[in-house]
Symmetry: C2
Subunit: 348 residues, 2 copies
């Protein structure tokens, strides 16, 4: 890339230290910022830069403005033999969500499956971080959240759902886990911003103008379209609803159109957003058995990766691209955009 | 439609009676065929004709040939406080799957959430039937199955995953439930067959020729493409994997490319297919509470249905189209295609 010279690279350890320092200065407690740094590094290491280190600028601002509680006292309430609710006390969402993942694993160890809701939370970064935390404990993980309106309904003329991610992960027998972390829109809004800067045309059927009419013009884009494209967007819209039902309706938290927007000039950064999340852990020991599952994942992934590809293409399991990026970034460092690098003092 | 005169319509009660009789004649026990009839009518009433009454022709054949056990003895094993495995004894998949849904609800009543695997099963019809069964019991339901290879991987040149459905349902406070029952391919293979007959062009990015190259020619189509289309098909392929991981790998059952094909001239119809399924039930009482959930679903659905639509379009919640069809078919009867009508004796 032509601006490669301007991109600063940092080691994961250095980046973690600087993120921690910035969040501490913004008033986040050691425990809550530790979770946030872990989630940001998860994304930054894997190449999910939209949900990586750059978010620290936003988190520091909302910590300072008061929307996010710097010293949250999490309350975990077990509500059934396999269920719990984590009250995030309006702290950094990563803190509550990692706690929920741990609780889901603990419940699943006892009951075979664990389902944990999170209430009174905030933006939690990449959903995949929490699904992966469950997989790292040897279980099948699922994590989701809803978010503020950005995506039209199928046939809709206004933003309704957020980009509502669904993240699934499964241990793969010693290798990096199978990891699917997907927005239920085709693209994130960050891609629109990037394409505006670069003057590029968006793919067909992923964005719409202010009336909901599909457009490929990034400058005219005012909302996203649900995954599935112009004819099958009802699938993406339905899946966005899965995130909303589990994260908001089931937890008694704000649905997407009622949620305070995350960012923007005019946005209230003092009032907590009352976000909900949902995390699930499933213990393979209570189904076919841990050994069967491990062997099965190996054989499934071997079959998938060995499947014939079209000329010039390759077939990959969910996560494979991310693990490759992780290896590259371990070797070369993590690229940090200029604004974030400045904020973190990486340019000095 | 021009062939409306040729379409025979039957009441749900008459159709149920005839389906039951045909399955009895093919050797299915009262309990197993009762579940099958319920699942077929779920689909036929809601307009999901690909998974409705027409499947009886196939089920009767595989019951007669021996692939499907006409007198399955289900074995339900509780494996944790919130988990169980249903052994389908190679009977009709609907029998095992409805049993799994009931077990998941019972477990969730005790533990807050219930996760049930199904092993040694067979084709179970529409996944939505089992998610809806959970919702009808007042809980959030999820049901999935994998199926034999029909869909290319993203970038792939051969069928790998099946059309692997994901079905979610949630009670909606007295109204018909919120119900999302989606294949993880854009279209089902039946649409290809239909378009071949009608000489119509397929939508872009939903089907491929024998080399995996996208085609709009139904006659040239040899595999489907994953939901998400030409640029975002990794999402559909990843979601198909969710079905495979939960239904096959977690249960120790056959993954999609290893599964005996469902149909076709040369297919072995004597050997059980060893299919797995997965059903989940989540009790709102263990999260925000049943009343909060009910009020939340009402308000979410009101907001969604009231969202502005593009000119000439309408916005709908998942299931709304199906419930409208159900009302129409209650009034007008269920249309049955000529072959199935003949098979059921509806033409006499």
């Amino acid at each position: 890339m032509s601006n490669a010279a301007a991109t600063i690279r940092a080691s994961a350890a250095d980046l973690a230290r600087r993120l921690d320092l910035c969040l501490a200065e913004a008033g986040a407690s050691e425990a809550s910022r530790g979770a946030c740094v872990a989630a940001l590094l998860h994304a930054s290491r894997l190449g999910v830069d939209s949900h990586g280190a750059r978010l620290v600028v936003h988190y520091a601002e909302v910590l300072r403005e008061g929307r996010v509680n710097g010293d949250p006292q999490l309350r975990v309430t077990r509500t059934g033999a396999a269920t719990a609710v984590v009250d995030g006390d309006d702290g950094l969402g990563h803190f509550a969500a990692y706690r929920a993942a741990r609780e889901a694993v603990d419940l699943a160890k006892e009951a075979g499956v664990g389902a944990v809701g999170v209430v009174r939370s905030s933006h939690f970064g990449a959903a995949g971080a929490y699904a992966k935390a469950v997989a790292d404990a040897g279980m099948v993980g699922f994590a989701t959240t809803n978010s503020d309106s950005a995506v039209a309904l199928f046939g809709g003329a206004a933003p309704f759902h957020g980009t509502n991610p669904l993240a699934f992960a499964a241990p793969s027998g010693g290798e990096r886990p199978w990891l699917l972390d997907m927005a239920t829109s085709s693209i994130p809004f960050n891609r629109v911003f990037l394409y505006r800067t670069l003057g590029l045309e968006l793919p067909e059927g992923v964005a719409a103008d202010g009336d909901g009419a599909p457009t490929r013009d990034a400058r005219a884009t005012e909302m996203l379209l649900p995954a599935g494209g112009p004819e099958f967007g009802f699938k993406g819209a339905g899946l966005a609803g899965v995130a909303t039902v589990l994260s908001a309706v089931l937890q008694g938290m704000a649905i997407d159109p009622a949620m305070l927007p995350m960012a923007g000039e005019a946005v209230d950064k003092r009032t907590p957003r009352g976000m909900g999340h949902f995390v699930l852990a499933i213990d393979p020991a209570c189904f076919g058995g841990a050994a069967v599952f491990e062997a099965g994942m190996r054989s499934y992934l071997a079959a998938l990766r060995g499947a014939p590809a079209r000329p010039g293409e390759s077939v990959m399991a969910p996560g494979d691209r991310e693990w490759r990026t992780e290896r590259e970034r371990e070797r070369d460092g993590i690229p940090v955009d200029p604004e974030t690098a400045r904020f973190l003092g990486l340019d000095r």
